[in-house]
């Protein structure tokens, strides 16, 4: 016995124009959809403008400089970063932080993960893990010293990053990583 095919009678279900052409157009739907489209475009343009300004990373509003309360260091960083996108955090240490031809710098473990530290420039003489972070020791001569951390965030969301020169005041940074 051949298999039966399911069927149902044809109905005049598509609205007609001038009672002769089944198009199914709907002016009321068109008008409503146009206003929905306009609203979505307004949001998208706002998103684009905020993006250009850097509110989602990589723009003028993302780049900021923070300074320790006692002036022991200044940090240039991006407060808005993007997931898996390279970023640079530059620390400028004041001459007073240099002792006996070396400078010590402690940074919280969040720099390693989730901020994904890839590289430290210059190479430290020593790096010591512990106390919830990494203590770097760099050779230094007189004058201001700069350290650059190249990062690539591996987690989306807010990350707090603490750093200090031992014996000086601590600097807390809030970094927001966007998808």
């Amino acid at each position: 016995m051949p298999a039966m095919t399911e069927t149902h009678p044809v109905e005049d279900s598509v609205p007609k124009v001038n009672d002769e052409l089944a198009v199914g157009s709907d002016l009321e739907f068109q008008r409503r959809w146009e206003s929905v489209e306009k609203t979505i475009w307004i949001f998208l343009i706002i998103f684009l403008l905020l993006s250009l300004l850097g509110f989602f990373g990589r723009g003028p509003m993302a780049k900021v400089t923070a300074k320790a309360a006692d002036g022991s260091m200044e940090v240039d960083y991006e407060r808005f970063e993007r997931f898996s996108t390279p970023s640079v955090l530059t620390v400028r240490l004041s001459p007073s932080a240099i002792h006996n031809g070396k400078v010590e710098f402690w940074v919280g473990e969040n720099l390693v993960k989730p901020l994904g530290n890839q590289r430290v420039i210059p190479q430290p003489d020593k790096s010591q893990v512990g106390n919830g972070g990494v203590l770097y020791t760099f050779p230094a001569s007189e004058g201001q010293a700069s350290i650059e951390f190249q990062t690539q965030p591996s987690k989306i969301g807010k990350t707090e990053l603490k750093m200090r020169v031992p014996g000086y005041s601590e600097l807390d940074l809030n970094i927001y990583v966007f998808p």
Binding site: L21, S25, L27, Q30, E37
Partner: protein, 148 residues
């Protein structure tokens, strides 16, 4: 894992973007629409697969997209409302010798687009068209006037 999530998000994001484009790339593709299709496709693929170009990752992404397409297709079939939101409705562009100006403006279609579709049907002039309809697939259907 990320690729699957990105593929699903990308699918809905692209569906939304194409839906609000007004002049959608479909049957009436001009070089203008080709640029859009290639560029958008190229950009979204970067966010979908990321750094992992392995077969497992890429095939996973393809499967996720196909699955979404199937699910959305089923949703459209079950709910005409969803079908209207996702695909839109046909738009009447020309009716009995009159351009439907506001509809044409909304759809970003002009008389040249209509005439191009008409020529494909062997219609020589705009006067010979009774109805022109912008279909949900982006194509323009032409209904000729009956010869008296």
């Amino acid at each position: 894992m990320y690729t699957l999530l990105h593929a699903v998000l990308g699918y809905f994001f692209l569906t939304l973007m194409i839906r609000i484009l007004a002049r959608r790339p479909g049957a009436q593709m001009t070089p203008f629409e080709f640029v859009l299709v290639f560029l958008v496709g190229g950009v979204i693929i970067l966010a979908t697969v990321g750094d992992d170009h392995s077969i497992t990752n890429c095939y996973g992404g393809v499967i996720a997209i196909c699955l979404m397409h199937r699910l959305v297709g089923r949703l459209k079939q079950r709910s005409p409302r969803w079908a209207d939101i996702i695909d839109g409705k046909p738009i009447l562009l020309l009716q009995n010798g009159e351009w439907q100006t506001s509809s044409m403006k909304q759809a970003h279609v002009d008389d040249m687009d209509v005439m191009a579709a008409a020529r494909e049907k062997g219609v020589r002039t705009l006067d010979d068209i009774k109805y022109a309809v912008l279909e949900r697939n982006g194509g323009i259907s032409i209904i000729k006037k009956k010869k008296s």
